[in-house]
C-alpha cells in the first residue's frame, strides 16, 4: 500500500500559518503530499486540522507561508478558483443543498467544468442542452460510484445521514478534482458504513485522485493511510507511515497526556535496552 504511485508532489505547504488575533490556529506547518497517496491528518480536537483545510481550499487566507498545488502558489486564491484548479472538499458537518435533489446537488458541482453562459442558459440553445444532458449523465455516474443512483430524485435533506455523507463525496468528485479533501467522513457512521467508506476511499484513489483526510476514527486512519501527519496546538508534531506515527512518543503524549507519554517513552527505551 505504501508503494502507491508516488510519482511527484501534488501539494506542498511551506511554513503555513493562520492566526486569529493572538491565537495561532496553525503555525508553521510544512507538508508534502505526493500524487496518488492517501494522506491523513490527525490530532486532538482544536489542533487546527479544519483550519488547515480551510486554508488549503481558500476559505481562509493564510497569515503566512505558501501553498503549492501542482507547482503553483495557490495561497489566498478564492475558493471557487481553487476548486477549479482541482482541489475539492467535503465538510465536517454535512453541507448539502437541502432543497435540491441528489442529482441536482451533484450537477451543481459541475459548475466550473461547464461553460454555458447567461444567454445560452436563458435560451436553452442546443449546445447548452447538450451540456446539460452530459452534466446529468456525469452526475448519475458519480451517484452510481458512491452507490446512490437509486436515490437520484430524492431531496438531499431527506436522505439518511450516511447517504448524505456519501452524496457529499459524490458532489466533491463531480468537480473533477485531482486532490480530494475529506473532513471527518466517518464521523457518526456505524461500523458497516465505515467499512464501506474505507472501500470508497480506496476506489477514489484508484481513479488517480489523491486523498487528504482528516479523521478521528483510528481504524480508518491506520487502515488506509499511506502517510499520516499529526497536528497539535496548530503545529505539526510528527509525520510518517502509520506504524511510525503510532509509535511516536510525542504523538502518544499529545493524545494521552504528558505523564502517560513519558511512561511509554521510558518503557519503550527499556524494551530497546532489553532487546
Amino acid at each position: 500500500m505504501n508503494g502507491a504511485a508516488t510519482n511527484g508532489t501534488i501539494l506542498e505547504t511551506r511554513g503555513l500559518s493562520r492566526r486569529f488575533g493572538g491565537l495561532k490556529a496553525i503555525n508553521d506547518v510544512t507538508l508534502t503530499v505526493c500524487t496518488g497517496q492517501i494522506f491523513s491528518i490527525i490530532g486532538p480536537n482544536g489542533a487546527g486540522k479544519t483550519t488547515l483545510f480551510n486554508c488549503l481550499t481558500g476559505f481562509y487566507a493564510p497569515t503566512d507561508g505558501e501553498i503549492y498545488f501542482e507547482g503553483d502558489n495557490v495561497a489566498g486564491l478564492r475558493p471557487d478558483r481553487i476548486t477549479e484548479r482541482g482541489i475539492a472538499r467535503t465538510f465536517q458537518n454535512v453541507r448539502l443543498f437541502g432543497e435540491m435533489t441528489a442529482l441536482e446537488n451533484v450537477m451543481v458541482a459541475q459548475h466550473c467544468r461547464t461553460r454555458a453562459g447567461v444567454l445560452s442558459s436563458l435560451l436553452g440553445v442546443p449546445s447548452a442542452a447538450r451540456e446539460e444532458r452530459a452534466a446529468a449523465q456525469t452526475a448519475m455516474d458519480e451517484l452510481h460510484f458512491v452507490g446512490l443512483d437509486e436515490k437520484a430524485d430524492f431531496w438531499a435533506r431527506n436522505l439518511a445521514y450516511g447517504e448524505q455523507r456519501r452524496l457529499e463525496i459524490a458532489r466533491a468528485l463531480a468537480t473533477k478534482p485531482k486532490l480530494l479533501l475529506l473532513d471527518e467522513p466517518a464521523a457518526g457512521m456505524n461500523p458497516a458504513e465505515t467499512r464501506e467508506l474505507m472501500e470508497l476511499i480506496h476506489k477514489i484513489r484508484g481513479r488517480g485522485i489523491t486523498v487528504l483526510l482528516i479523521e478521528h476514527d483510528m481504524r480508518v486512519v491506520m487502515g488506509i493511510s499511506d502517510r499520516i501527519a499529526v497536528l497539535d496546538h496548530g503545529e505539526k508534531i510528527a509525520e510518517g507511515t502509520p506504524t511510525e506515527v503510532r509509535n511516536d512518543p510525542r504523538v502518544i503524549e499529545a493524545y494521552l497526556g504528558k505523564d502517560e507519554g513519558e511512561r511509554m517513552k521510558r518503557e519503550g527505551g527499556r524494551r530497546r535496552d532489553e532487546g
Partner: protein, 415 residues
C-alpha cells in the same frame, strides 16, 4: 428550511405585522363603522344568496383565473423536468399538449369577450406577473431579499419616458435601451450590495428604490419631476378597434393584451430554461448554502450579479410596457408599497417556484380589484387585510401557495 430562509421569513413577518398596525394608526376614525357594516349579518346572507349572480357578473374574472390555473398546471408540470427519469424520457405527454393548447386558445380568444375594463385588469395582472417572475430570480431563487424592486421598474419606465421626451421614440424602440439601462443599473447596484446578506441587503435595496424615486422627482430638468411624462398616443401601444381580425372586439386594447401575454409566455420559457441550467442551479445552491456553493467552484459574486442583472431587465421591460399602456408616468407610481407588493406576490405564490409568483401576482392584483368593486367599504382596509393574510401565510404555509411544487417531484417519482 435553511437558516437564511428563516431569517428572511422573520423579516417578512415583521413587515407583515407592521403594515396593518401603521394602517390602523392612520385610519382609525369613523370609517371603521363602514367595515363593521360590511360584516353585518344581512349583508352576509345577501352575499350567499346572490353568489351565483355575483359569479355570473364576474365571469370574466373567473375566466381569467381558470385560464391562469390551467397555465399554472402546465408550468408546474414543466418544472418537473429536473428529475433523472424526466431527463431520460424527455417526452411530452398528451395531457400536457391538450392543457397547453386549451390554455393557449383560452388566452388568445379571451380579449374578444372582455370589456375594456377587464382587459385593462388582465393587462395589469400580466405586468405584475412579469414583475413577480423577475423578482423571483433574486428573492426566490438566489435568496437575496430585494426590497427596492420598484426602483428597477422605474428605471425601465423612465428610460422610455425620457427617450420619448428627448427624441419622441415609440415604445418598441425603447424596449432594448431600457433593458440595457436596467442591466447596467442592476450590475451597479448589485456589485457593492451583494457583499451584504439578508436584512442588510434588504435595507440597502430599499434605499436604492427610494433614491430612484427621489431622483426622478428632483431631477426635473431631465424627468419633468412630479409633473410626470405624458406619452402621445402615437408612441403608446396602438389600440385596435373593430378590425376584421377581431370581429367580436368591443374594445381597442387587444394589442397591449397580446403583447403582455406574449412576453409572459416568453418569460415562462426563459425562466424554465434557467431553472434547469447551470446558472439556475448555482443560484439555488447559493440560497441553500453559500459556503458549500463556493466550495463547489461557484463564483458567488458573479452569479449574484447575474441574478440582479436579469431581475432588473425583467423589471425594466415591465416598466416600458406599463408606460406604453398607461401613456403617463410619474415618480409616485414607484413607491415603496409597490416593491412590497411585488415581494408579497413572490412570497404568497411560493419563493423559488416557477409558477408560484404568477399565481401570487394574479391573486394579489385581481382579488383586491374585485373586492373594490363589490365591497367599496373594504378598500380603505386593503392593507390591513393584506397584512393579516401575509401573517396567516407565514404561520400556516411559509413556503407559499405553490412552494411545494418542486418538492412534489420526489413524491411522484418514489411512490
Amino acid at each position: 428550511m435553511s437558516k437564511s430562509a428563516q431569517r428572511f421569513l422573520m423579516v417578512l413577518w415583521i413587515l407583515g405585522l407592521a403594515s396593518p398596525l401603521v394602517f390602523v394608526g392612520v385610519q382609525f376614525d369613523d370609517r371603521t363603522r363602514d367595515l363593521v357594516a360590511v360584516f353585518r349579518k344581512d349583508r352576509l346572507v345577501f352575499l350567499v344568496r346572490d353568489l351565483p349572480a355575483l359569479c355570473m357578473k364576474h365571469a370574466a374574472t373567473l375566466g381569467i383565473l381558470v385560464i391562469i390555473a390551467a397555465t399554472l398546471y402546465l408550468t408546474a408540470r414543466w418544472f418537473q423536468r429536473s428529475t433523472w427519469a424526466a431527463r431520460q424520457a424527455s417526452l411530452v405527454s398528451k395531457n400536457r399538449i391538450v392543457v397547453g393548447v386549451v390554455a393557449l386558445f383560452g388566452f388568445t380568444v379571451l380579449p374578444c369577450f372582455l370589456s375594456d375594463k377587464y382587459l385593462g385588469l388582465a393587462i395589469f395582472t400580466g405586468i405584475y406577473m412579469l414583475l413577480a417572475m423577475g423578482l423571483n430570480l433574486t428573492v426566490g431563487m438566489t435568496g437575496l431579499l430585494v426590497l427596492g424592486y420598484a426602483g428597477f421598474y422605474a428605471i425601465g419606465a423612465y428610460t422610455f419616458g425620457i427617450m420619448y421626451l428627448r427624441w419622441g421614440v415609440p415604445f418598441y424602440v425603447a424596449i432594448l435601451p431600457a433593458m440595457i439601462t436596467g442591466a447596467i443599473v442592476g450590475v451597479l447596484v448589485g456589485l457593492p450590495s451583494i457583499r451584504l446578506r439578508g436584512d442588510y441587503l434588504a435595507i440597502v435595496t430599499l434605499g436604492f428604490g427610494e433614491t430612484v424615486r427621489f431622483l426622478l422627482k428632483n431631477l426635473s430638468d431631465i424627468t419633468d419631476g412630479d409633473r410626470g411624462i405624458v406619452i402621445s398616443s402615437a408612441a403608446k401601444i396602438p389600440r385596435l378597434a373593430h378590425s376584421p381580425l377581431f370581429p367580436y372586439s368591443k374594445s381597442g386594447e387587444q394589442i397591449a393584451y397580446y403583447l403582455v401575454f406574449g412576453l409572459l409566455l416568453l418569460s415562462l420559457w426563459l425562466v424554465r430554461n434557467l431553472v434547469n441550467s447551470r446558472i439556475g442551479r448555482a443560484w439555488i445552491a447559493i440560497r441553500e448554502d453559500e459556503t458549500a456553493a463556493r466550495a463547489m467552484g461557484i463564483n458567488t459574486v458573479r452569479m449574484k450579479v447575474i441574478a440582479f442583472m436579469l431581475s432588473a431587465i425583467w423589471a425594466a421591460v415591465a416598466g416600458v410596457i406599463y408606460v406604453a399602456r398607461e401613456g403617463y408616468v410619474e415618480p409616485e407610481v414607484f413607491r415603496f408599497d409597490e416593491s412590497v407588493l411585488i415581494v408579497s406576490m413572490v412570497i404568497l405564490g411560493g419563493m423559488g417556484s416557477g409558477p408560484g409568483p404568477i399565481l401570487g401576482a394574479a391573486v394579489l392584483y385581481l382579488v383586491p380589484q374585485v373586492l373594490r368593486d363589490e365591497f367599496p367599504a373594504l378598500l380603505d382596509y386593503r392593507l390591513m387585510i393584506f397584512g393579516v393574510v401575509m401573517i396567516g401565510m407565514m404561520i400556516f404555509r411559509p413556503q407559499g401557495l405553490l412552494g411545494s411544487v418542486r418538492r412534489k417531484i420526489e413524491l411522484e417519482t418514489t411512490s
